[in-house]
Symmetry: C2
Subunit: 256 residues, 2 copies
């Protein structure tokens, strides 16, 4: 397994993920609010990009957020107050919670099935889990471009080489159902940007998705997955897109 | 240009499109209701699969529906009452209308730009156009399957060979804006089916999308685009999908 590239753990990535969360917060967090007093655990909070929205939408909840990166936790703690930040690996977590929130985490794990099985042990009976993931296979755009598509395919390949799955969104239903969660519901949350939505063109197409592609260019070229020229053309074509589509998936389930 | 395959004009297709419309009606027609007395023209009504929903949602509107196929119009007239059905080619249409409705039509046209330019001449100042199209590039599913993906790619190729574009959904914004419509708004309307939504698995994944793929198998094999074996595997894999995603695009614009 290759862990050189794990997006979310590099300096410019921190700002990118912050921007992404702000643009997408409404889309991803709609419908997620936990009652006052409930014990909520965010697993893999990273730099707190989602934590800030969790805390804002569930002001009375008792929020704990964990991550494996001390550096990310430090940034997160500087960003959000009133949250109990802890340094821990997902598989070492214990305790009991009413609700779990897991966003952009399973995509990085070689065995998401095992992660979900362990997370399930942390929930009280009747507790809920919320999982959000993207799926790079949902990305399409106009004008079409082979170099841009090839660059996106490289991202999928790099994440697979690192033990993850950039196409995991489509798997959330079988993953949660397979882990034994009840009442599993998966909803697509689709981002569509064109010239009539300039904030999304900037905030998502350019500063989120295209920035993510640009961010792995050196790695892709160094590994011989792309030439510098083809990568540059792909990125340029993404910058030139007039319409862009991407679907996130939001899944919920509960313990019986 | 090859017109052997134009979906919508074969006998089993008529029933399929009827089923499709019923399953998707809520998704596609939400937000579309025209005022009593307004003059509404449906362009390319086919067998009336959408006309029935248009009429139901705009009971007081004066609805005219046209198609190039006399056989389709006869079916449509048997299905919906209170609609003025007329036999006409899109480019021969004249008169003045308050609203145009154009669903699954542009995908078949070699020059959708010219069609939109002509349709615009039929609208009074301040009139609106509503356009709905799919985009086969939005189809993805779990488990992934190369034969299934190859079969879908064949559909795109066959439609291109017939002068159409099965990937037109992503182009609606530039097409309508380019034709000079004002206030163009395009919304993705996403279908997502898994085991928690059995009616969608049956009504969309199986009876709409997979049935459409199955319907062009003989043509694809006869033209050497696929082998009988690979096509059968692709269709079997589509029947076995656990999750399925597809995005339609609904665009509106107005004349100034």
């Amino acid at each position: 397994m290759d862990t050189t590239y794990v997006h979310g753990y590099a300096a410019p990535e921190a700002r990118r993920l912050g921007d992404q969360a702000d643009t997408l917060a409404g889309l991803l967090h709609a419908g997620t609010a936990f009652p006052a007093g409930s014990r909520v655990l965010e697993v893999g909070c990273g730099v707190g990009a989602q934590t800030v929205h969790l805390a804002a939408r569930s002001p009375g909840a008792r929020l704990t957020a964990v991550d494996v990166s001390e550096a990310s936790l430090k940034e997160a703690a500087a960003r959000v107050t009133g949250v109990d930040f802890r340094h821990a690996d997902l598989f070492d977590l214990d305790g009991e919670y009413d609700h779990l929130f897991v966003c952009f985490v399973l995509e990085h794990l070689p065995e998401p099935e095992k992660a979900l099985a362990h997370l399930k042990t942390l929930l009280r009976p009747g507790g809920t889990i919320t999982v959000i993931e993207g799926d790079h296979g949902s990305a399409f755009f106009h004008p079409r471009s082979e170099p841009a598509q090839a660059a996106i395919d490289c991202l999928v390949r790099l994440q697979a080489d690192a033990g993850g799955d950039a196409l995991i969104g489509r798997r959330l239903y079988p993953l949660l159902a397979g882990a034994g969660f009840a009442d599993v519901v998966v909803e697509p949350r689709t981002v569509y940007a064109d010239a009539s939505r300039p904030a999304l063109v900037t905030g998502f197409t350019r500063d989120t998705f295209t920035a993510m592609v640009e961010g792995v260019g050196e790695t892709a070229v160094a590994r011989g997955l792309a030439t510098a020229g083809s990568w540059a053309r792909g990125v340029a074509d993404l910058h030139r897109t007039e319409t862009f589509h991407y679907t996130f998936f939001k899944a919920t389930g509960r313990t019986s």
